[in-house]
């Protein structure tokens, strides 16, 4: 194993060419945390760093790019990043609603239902950001077998107050600014065809190491699952690609009794049998619950506080981490969580022409809570901003919403973007309502299953950490450092007016019935002979 790793390092130094990166480092980790409701959250993270690399300067797109030689870094993804000069990229494909109330914050933040794509790209250069964005989403659609090609301009927004890059943005010594593009597709399914190309990006595929646990038949049986691709530039450290896979599994569902014991074998079908030779580190980290003390087998190599860690590279194989509780599971009566606020978003109203968007925010803390609220809606849901009303415990208030920015939708071409800052009083329930109109779609704009309705993308709420009193001038750039972890609301299903797609057949049926009725009556009248029958009274009695 060591020898193979040595070869990898040797090769990566041999291929040290024009970009000036010196090496590629691959590390993998798996975090397992039992959740209060008896489920188990697992988070895989595969991290490849291309040391010393710099994202492509968009001004160099016209000239030939130097050839790319990677050993561990995924080439197919690297080609896409350089072809479209993408500095930072976040793609997530999730299935199901992340239940913040029960599960708390996720390990990976992007848990909005369906597909979500975020990219920062340099503005300068011959090719516009929008052209490159289009190319990027098509290329990713091909790479990940997802319908990202339909994230067109009707779904693309630039919510630059809600999202900030995780890494750094280079300016290539020429004051190149960056622009954000964001789009989400809540109706996207996630299945094996998305996981297959995902695993192909890893140096060990799903053959060895932690990635061998990603068995599609088990992970897609999870109550919630999602995968993510995160590319960012870490400055001098280079370009980082982080591939993540999260799932929430339910051992109670598999067990015959109320036991929530789990093991790698029971969750994923098998343990880890081989090391991934390309990995410089390979760690399994188990979070131990605070109150109870379940037993862990095998004995963890290091255990500090509430974390127990296993080093897969040195651990004895087959590694099958298991957690066992002494007693059966009692569902907790109170689920306490660390969330600053809880959110419920609904679309009310029963007509197909209008409705009311309602957001209920509950601040459980005894301190005021500031939030950034982002709402992106397809154009066929039109907001009326003047109808925005804020109520606290039933009383109208006008000091809750501030710093609004609103990009109105353009029919058939651009979605709505609504960003605002909310200030929630302590221990309060705030209700925001907005009147919306549902547009009348063209016949051809309806999806094949139009009667099911349209999925609306989730809203995002980003709690702001308390302002630093020294630097409390509320500038937007400063907000970047105050942003907490985002909370994605659930998606909504909206019922827009659908035409009667079978109308031609109905017309035919109605007309035919009418013709048959008239013809039948007339035919009867013309051909029947109406005579008066005299019945014999005696016969009638018989």
């Amino acid at each position: 194993m060591k020898l193979t790793l040595g070869w990898f390092l040797l090769f990566s130094t041999l291929f040290n060419n024009g970009y000036g990166w010196s090496s590629e480092i691959f590390s993998e980790s798996l975090k397992i945390a039992p959740l209060p409701d008896g489920r188990v959250s697992t988070t895989f993270s595969f991290n490849t760093v291309l040391e010393g690399a710099l994202p492509r300067d968009p001004r160099s797109l016209t000239s030939q790019d130097a050839s790319q030689h990677y050993v561990l870094f995924p080439l197919t993804l690297g080609q896409i990043l350089r072809e479209y000069a993408v500095t930072e990229l976040h793609l997530s494909l999730n299935a199901g609603n992340w239940n913040y109330e029960r599960w708390g914050y996720p390990e990976e933040k992007g848990v909005g239902t369906g597909a979500e794509l975020l990219a920062w790209m340099g503005v300068e250069g011959s090719e516009s950001v929008d052209d490159r964005w289009k190319g990027l989403r098509n290329a990713l659609a091909g790479l990940f077998c997802a319908s990202l090609g339909s994230l067109d301009e009707q779904r693309t927004t630039s919510p630059d107050r809600a999202f900030f890059p995780q890494g750094m943005l280079p300016d290539w010594s020429g004051n190149v600014t960056h622009q954000l593009r964001h789009a989400s597709l809540p109706s996207e399914h996630v299945c094996t065809e998305n996981l297959t190309p995902f695993l192909k990006l890893l140096p060990c595929k799903s053959l060895s190491g932690i990635s061998s646990l990603l068995n599609p038949h088990r992970v897609f049986d999870a109550d919630w699952h999602g995968m993510g691709v995160h590319v960012s530039w870490l400055g001098a450290a280079g370009v980082q690609v982080r591939l993540t896979f999260q799932s929430v599994m339910d051992p109670l569902r598999y067990s015959r009794n109320t036991s929530r014991n789990w093991s790698l074998r029971s969750l994923f079908g098998h343990g880890i049998e081989r090391n991934c030779p390309a990995a410089s580190s390979s760690v399994i980290e188990v979070t131990l619950p605070d109150s109870e003390h379940p037993s862990l087998t095998p004995q963890p190599q290091t255990s500090s506080g509430s974390k127990a860690t296993y080093d897969v590279l040195t651990a004895e194989k087959t590694l099958d981490v298991a957690m066992q509780w002494q007693d059966g599971f009692q569902y907790p009566s109170i689920l306490n969580n660390s969330l600053p606020v809880s959110v419920t978003r609904t679309l009310r109203g029963f007509t197909q022409a209008s409705g009311k968007l309602s957001l209920v925010l509950k601040n459980r803390r005894s301190t005021p809570q500031e939030l950034i609220y982002l709402e992106t809606m397809p154009w066929f849901i039109q907001f009326y901003l003047h109808t925005l009303q804020t109520r606290i415990d039933g009383h109208l208030r006008d000091d809750i919403v501030s710093h609004m920015s609103y990009n109105a939708a353009v029919a058939h071409s651009r979605p709505t973007t609504f960003q605002a800052e909310l200030r929630l009083p302590p221990n309060s329930v705030t209700q925001l309502t907005l009147d919306v109109d549902k547009a009348f779609l063209r016949y051809t704009e309806h999806p094949p299953d139009a009667q099911r309705g349209w999925d609306l993308p989730p809203a995002v709420l980003i709690p702001l950490n308390p302002a630093d009193p020294i630097n409390s001038n509320n500038s937007h750039t400063y907000n970047e450092y105050r942003l907490g972890e985002p909370i994605y609301t659930s998606t909504l299903l909206v019922d827009v007016a659908t035409p009667d797609f079978s109308m031609p057949y109905n017309v035919i049926i109605f007309t035919c019935s009418l013709v048959a009725f008239i013809f039948g009556s007339v035919f009867n009248l013309l051909t029947r002979k109406f005579v008066v029958l005299h019945l014999d009274a005696n016969q009638q009695n018989n």
Binding site: A141, G142, C145, S147, S150
Partner: protein, 394 residues
């Protein structure tokens, strides 16, 4: 005069082109039997045009074909798989990540390694025709394109709900038999295939191939006009029918085929049994130019690359100073006499006709080349002299 010279040059160029294509033809046909296929690569377009869970069997049909062509050697990069709905990760599926095509659930068609190129709302008539004809936007990735050429054998499989001369896509739009026929004609004109094998499993399926008019298409369908196609079996745990009868019996036969199989399409068609299938499958071979008993199943279902082992270069006796084709081209006396006979045929390019033994063909060709070169050179010199002599007068 200039015009005549120009025409001669044109004729010469076209004959050189024809000779070059005949070189290519020779290369590919050197070791093949007379009725063998001339393809060098295989492509498959597999379409499940039905949405919704109760159409599970259509997903299973397409996935069964996907498994078969992949097993017989067509790589994922050459398979365009279109699935209109997600059966495997559907919430109604009791077996997540799996699609089964038999009641006992013995074989998982979804497996661990699958690439679905068009899925969900992307499976539309427009996208299907764009894939076939190659008229896609520049940004469409390679995995969503049919990058076939004139040496490609393309297998097109479609399944869904249909009727007389149409197939429904997602209960929303239809593709007609004329649309597919025209798309195939466009493919033929754009040299996007060598041969097409079209298979369709739907009600009144045989009507779907009745409008084809482009050459080298072999077609089969599950039922004749006025007849329904039926499903094969239910699985009680999945709760719906899992596969259609026609596809089931084809896949059952295919399980016995491997990459080196010499079974022909005729053998496949002979297995059709209307009593078992509950409908009358049809075959259309009038556009197909090879006898069906010489068209191998692996010509369409397999990605079989014919490898030719050639002896090492020193065995051929090639020396550096005299390349073999130049050495051969020195015309022997009896060939010099034939030069006169051969040269008229220079301007009628019939590549495939010059096929007797490769040695004679080689010699003939070089003689033609030299003859043509002399003729055109002479003509050009003469035309140049004529124009040069005329110029002072002008």
């Amino acid at each position: 005069m200039h015009l005549v010279a120009f025409l001669h040059v044109l004729g010469f160029l076209s004959s050189v082109w024809a000779l070059n294509t005949s070189v290519v033809n020779d290369f590919f046909e050197r070791n093949s039997a007379p009725g063998a296929s001339k393809h060098t690569n295989n492509w498959a377009v597999l379409v499940c045009a039905s949405r919704y869970w109760f159409n599970y069997r259509h997903m299973a049909n397409a996935l069964g074909m996907y498994r078969t062509v992949k097993r017989l050697g067509i790589p994922d990069s050459n398979i365009i798989l279109m699935l209109a709905d997600d059966a495997s990760c559907n919430l109604r599926n009791k077996f997540p990540g799996s699609v089964y095509a038999n009641p006992g659930r013995h074989l998982d068609l979804y497996g661990d390694n699958i690439e679905v190129d068009y899925r969900g709302y992307e499976v539309t008539v427009e996208n299907f025709i764009r894939v076939l004809t190659g008229r896609v936007e520049p940004s469409v990735p390679r995995s969503k394109r049919l990058l076939s050429d004139e040496r490609s054998n393309v297998f097109v499989y479609m399944t869904g709900h249909g009727g007389n001369e149409f197939l429904k896509f997602q209960d929303n739009e239809e593709i007609s038999a004329f649309d597919i026929a025209d798309a195939f004609e466009q493919m033929y004109q754009k040299k996007r295939y060598n041969e097409i094998f079209f298979m369709i499993d739907t009600c009144q399926a045989n009507s779907m191939y009745s409008k084809f008019y482009s050459p080298n298409i072999l077609a089969t369908g599950s039922s004749k006009v006025g007849e329904n196609s039926y499903s094969y079996a239910n699985d009680n745990d999945i709760g719906v029918a899992v596969i259609d009868a026609f596809t089931h019996y084809i896949l059952e036969y295919m399980e016995g085929i491997n990459k080196t199989s010499q079974m022909s399409m005729q053998d496949l068609f002979n297995t059709y049994n209307p009593d078992k299938i509950n409908s009358h499958p049809g075959v259309r071979s009038d556009l197909f130019r090879r006898p069906l008993d010489q068209a191998l199943i692996t010509d369409f279902f397999g990605g079989v690359a014919q490898a030719e082992v050639i002896p090492p270069i020193e065995d051929l006796g090639i020396t550096d100073d005299a390349p073999p084709d130049l050495g051969d081209s020195l015309p022997a006396p009896e060939e010099a006499t034939s030069l006169v006979k051969v040269s008229p045929s220079l301007f009628s390019h019939r590549p495939s006709d010059i096929l007797s033994s490769s040695n004679v063909v080689d010699k003939k060709r070089t003689v033609q080349m030299w003859g043509g070169l002399c003729l055109v050179g002479g003509l050009a010199a003469w035309a140049f002299r004529k124009s040069a002599s005329r110029r002072p007068n002008a």
